[in-house]
């Protein structure tokens, strides 16, 4: 709203004088992170902002966090001391609804301390009910009981402990605790014999830490033969995992399903239609991120690059049916399946003049179909910078057959990895919207400005809108960011002060 408090303007001029400004800047600290925050059910909660308020002694820095709601209203804020090794923290909700702060290391500290003495900084926990911040150690399972994990040790100390334990027992005991919904706990435990692991146990506990069941496997393991299980989902009915079986160094993979109430094996079905390398890639990405997996009540869909030998030759989808516990693998080969849409494509995803397709995002739809958003990318050469051009949008049907390929033309961008921004599911995961930007020349003014492209896929219909997000003439620059469902955050820097603001704008789908 327009305010013409001239006297206030006059005072602001005075406040902008050097001394007061210096003080104000010093008092606020440095903004070191602004990020979206999703709750334990993966729903958009709001935003997390953190300021570095400088060192308080030789080992600690003071940080101030502010949590904003989905409409950018302040909800809570507090200060806390964090180790000097941290530049900032990234925040996420844990399953119990507390906000966990993961440290982001200042890499220069690693060389100051030396790799051997370096102790990885601790996580922090914001109690959302009180705003208080405390060190977060997580849960560990030791000697048949849950305890708070010990503070981190240096690499040298850990190595010493491992050496001593292996000397005493011939192996080391390892266990990992996952806190599940409603306070349930899953413990995975095994003995590490250095060359192989043995005596694996999966244990499931209720919210009172009482064991419901345990599942033992891999008791006869040796260097050539072993089994391991990687969890892909756990729900009210079952535990779902991929079992890797090594027999005389040969690998086979199965889907294993355990009854959530008893731990009994409900199914153990071979995974077909995918190469071992592709399944290994699935296991690798599954262990490090949930980005390539979408879980529904009746199915699990996992996306991967399709790997033949050591080369990427297309896309793969693994789909687990939660009703009959069947598992299917499907593949799209670049050359065979995309040639009719992209004539110049070769078998490794190369499209033209050194550009190849790089996946930017995957959109999963409830019927099992998915869309793969890719961008044409050319890596930097000895004398040239990296480049990107068009976005290529590949839509598959529920059987993972290519249904449509849409090339979204974009100017060549040099020196930056991507023009893609982010995406969002809409309407209860039925539809999707994704955003990218492009630096385009205006036909009339001949000026180059950034354009934001807003792309929706609603009821299978693709729609594109665009809006200008920078202008040299009108002197503004807008930075888009994620927002609550159906909205986008636009941070505008404008020469006109009244437009210099953070806005939430509703999408026109």
């Amino acid at each position: 709203m327009k305010k013409i408090f001239a006297l206030l303007l006059l005072l602001l001029n005075l406040y902008s004088q050097a001394q007061i400004q210096d003080l104000a800047e010093m008092a606020s600290g440095d903004l070191v992170n602004f990020q979206a925050l999703y709750d334990q059910n993966d729903k958009f909660y709001g935003y997390f902002t953190i300021y570095n308020q400088g060192e308080v002694n030789n080992n600690f820095r003071k940080f101030e966090y502010i949590i904003l709601d989905k409409n950018l209203n302040k909800v809570s804020s507090n200060t806390f001391e964090g180790e000097k090794k941290n530049l900032t923290y990234t925040a996420f909700f844990d399953i119990n609804g507390d906000v966990i702060l993961a440290p982001y290391l200042d890499s220069s500290q690693l060389s100051i301390w030396g790799i051997g003495k370096f102790v990885f900084p601790e996580y922090k926990k914001i109690d959302i009910k009180t705003s208080k911040v405390e060190t977060y150690y997580g849960k560990c399972y030791e000697n048949n009981a849950f305890v708070n994990c010990e503070p981190n040790k240096s690499w040298r100390e850990s190595k010493k402990d491992i050496k001593a334990e292996r000397k005493a027992k011939g192996y080391i005991d390892e266990s990992y605790v996952s806190v599940l919904k409603k306070g349930k706990l899953l413990v995975r435990q095994y003995k590490d014999y250095d060359k192989y692991i043995k005596d694996n146990v999966i244990m499931y506990f209720d919210e009172n830490e009482k064991m419901i069941w345990k599942y033992d496997y891999n008791n006869l393991a040796d260097k050539k033969n072993s089994e391991s299980i990687s969890k892909i989902d756990i729900d009210d009915k079952a535990f779902y995992g991929i079992k890797t079986i090594k027999q005389n160094k040969e690998l086979t993979y199965k889907l294993i399903v355990l009854d959530i109430n008893t731990g009994k094996v409900l199914a153990e079905n071979p995974i077909t239609g995918l190469t071992n390398e592709t399944i290994q890639n699935i296991l690798y990405t599954n262990n490090s991120s949930d980005a390539y997996k979408k879980i529904y009540d009746d199915k699990i869909i996992i996306f991967s690059q399709n790997i033949t030998g050591s080369m990427v030759t297309g896309y793969a989808r693994m789909i687990v049916n939660k009703t009959d516990f069947s598992v299917d693998g499907n593949v799209i080969f670049y050359k065979e399946d995309l040639k009719s849409f992209i004539p110049k494509i070769d078998k490794y995803g190369g499209v033209e003049s050194g550009y190849y397709l790089v996946s930017k995002d995957i959109f999963y739809l409830k019927d099992g179909s998915l869309a793969i958003l890719t961008e044409k990318f050319k890596p930097a050469g000895q004398y040239s910078r990296m480049k990107t051009t068009d976005m290529v949008y590949i839509v598959t049907d529920k059987d993972f057959k290519v249904k449509e390929v849409k090339t979204l033309e974009k100017e060549k961008s040099k020196g930056q990895y991507t023009d893609y921004l982010f995406s969002q599911y809409l309407n209860n995961d039925q539809d999707v919207v994704f955003f990218y930007k492009d630096f385009q020349k205006d036909d009339e003014s001949k000026d180059k400005n950034w354009i934001l492209f807003i792309n929706t896929l609603q009821n299978g219909v693709f729609k594109q809108e665009q809006t200008i997000i920078s202008s040299k003439n009108d002197k503004f620059m807008i930075y888009p960011y994620v927002a609550k469902e159906g909205y986008i955050l636009l941070r505008e820097y404008n020469e006109k002060d009244k437009y210099n603001q953070i806005r939430l704008e509703k999408l026109n789908y």
């Binding site: 006059l10 005075l14 007061i20 210096d22 003080l23 010093m26 209203n73 959302i128």
Partner: protein, 430 residues
């Protein structure tokens, strides 16, 4: 948000005026130019007078600030943020003349300027220009209360509060001890932010204290000026009470049935889902603690404290009695009433303008006129939504600070799709 509150509560006298007469003069280019010239001259004179009264170093900085301010404010005038309507100007000038005639200590070159701003606010510029918001004519009840506001602003000028405040800042800036303190702070390795914050807070609190003291002084002197004029002394306290009322209310009063009444169109049936409110129940806003005490950094003391102080100094004010508005004031009140929505549209407060349109239609006041204005506002909203700029002109929901009625209104506005907005805009723009 507050700049449109008054109009919802004000009961306009139902004297029949033709609407044509309510339109404010917009062919004001020559008047605007003349005012800018006069404003620039008076600022120049002020700067010249300050050269004699201030130390060289202080004057240099003061001059720089004043010149920057003069440029900025002239730009505001050029951008048509002020009304140059003879009826309102004459009314305000008559009051100012009455003050000057009865109080010789008031500088002769002081003048009034009427802002299009719809807030209940007024302020005094260093050169002796008293900016009066059009909002005063909606919220205050009579000529005597307008005189009360002007008396307060005149006192700020007579006591040179604006210049004193600036000089205070400049002296603070030039103070060697302060400079050393900031320099030392910059060099500190540990706890720099906390110490800087403390220092910054102290400065803000001290400024707040000084400006609150100025307000008390202006209240007191203002009353002495008013006392010598023909205006009702008792209304001086009433003016403060109206400000207090204005400061504490939130927009309310729009009822749910009005949405169905207005937005159930022949080509677009009303949808109940438009009224669906966004859920904010998972947030606990009570956890938030402000780092600074708002009252301590506020430029104005609590109204209650101001009233008490005035009553202590001038016991005759304890029995306040408000005058009935005279015919001239009623006319101007009507002019203001008809210009709220155009002015809100001028300041791009389309959300507020729509809220008021709906409120007036609900109260069955000039329904056709307000439906037409509703159409104009929805055309603006349509354009803004298409360009991804609506949040410039329509608030987001803020559960901690908004009434249920206003949140309902905002939910409705944000729930509409682009096509639905277009249908509403087209229907009411016909």
């Amino acid at each position: 948000m507050k700049n449109f509150l008054p109009y919802l509560l004000l009961v306009i006298n139902t004297i029949a005026f033709s609407q044509e007469k309510m339109v404010l003069d917009t062919t004001d280019y020559p008047k605007r130019q003349a005012f800018i010239k006069e404003f620039e001259n008076s600022n120049l004179q002020l700067i010249q007078s300050l050269e004699k009264s201030q130390e060289r170093k202080v004057f240099k900085m003061l001059k720089k600030n004043m010149e920057e301010f003069k440029t900025d404010f002239s730009k505001e005038i050029k951008e048509q943020n002020f009304h140059f309507d003879e009826r309102l100007e004459t009314f305000l000038n008559t009051i100012l003349t009455e003050f000057k005639d009865k109080n010789p200590e008031i500088p002769k070159n002081t003048k009034v300027l009427l802002s299009k701003n719809t807030n209940l606010n007024a302020y005094c510029l260093p050169d002796g220009t008293f900016v009066i918001n059009l909002g005063l004519f909606y919220w205050l009840e009579n000529e005597d209360q307008i005189a009360g506001v002007l008396a307060h602003e005149i006192s700020h000028k007579v006591l040179e509060h604006s210049i004193k405040t600036q000089v205070h800042f400049i002296n603070d800036e030039l103070n060697q001890q302060n400079k050393n303190l900031v320099t030392e702070l910059k060099k500190q390795k540990y706890n720099k932010t906390q110490k800087a914050f403390q220092l910054f807070k102290n400065k803000l609190y001290a400024t707040g204290e000084m400006r609150q003291k100025h307000e008390f002084e202006a209240d007191s002197l203002g009353y002495l000026f008013l006392k010598k004029t023909k205006y009702n002394k008792q209304d001086y306290i009433e003016t403060l009470r109206q400000i207090e009322k204005y400061d504490t209310i939130t927009p309310k009063g729009l009822s749910e049935p009005i949405y169905k009444k207005i937005f159930d169109l022949p080509n677009q049936a009303f949808k109940q889902e438009w009224l669906k409110m966004e859920d904010f129940s998972s947030y606990d806003y009570s956890l938030l603690k402000e780092k600074m005490n708002k009252d301590s950094i506020s430029s104005h003391p609590e109204i209650d404290a101001r009233i008490k102080k005035l009553e202590l100094l001038y016991p005759e004010l304890k029995t306040s009695k408000s005058n009935e508005p005279n015919e001239e004031f009623k006319k101007l009140e009507q002019i203001a009433y008809y210009n709220i929505i155009p002015n809100l549209m001028f300041s791009e407060d389309y959300g507020a303008a729509i809220y008021i349109c709906l409120n007036r239609i609900e109260k069955e006041k000039e329904i056709d006129l307000h439906k037409k204005l509703l159409g104009d506002c929805f055309q603006k909203v349509l354009k803004a939504r298409k360009e991804y700029k609506l949040n410039r002109y329509l608030d987001r929901i803020d559960p901690k600070n908004q009434s249920q009625s206003y949140m309902q209104f905002l939910s409705f506005m944000w729930n509409l799709s682009l096509d639905e907005i277009k249908n509403i805009a087209d229907f009411y723009s016909k």
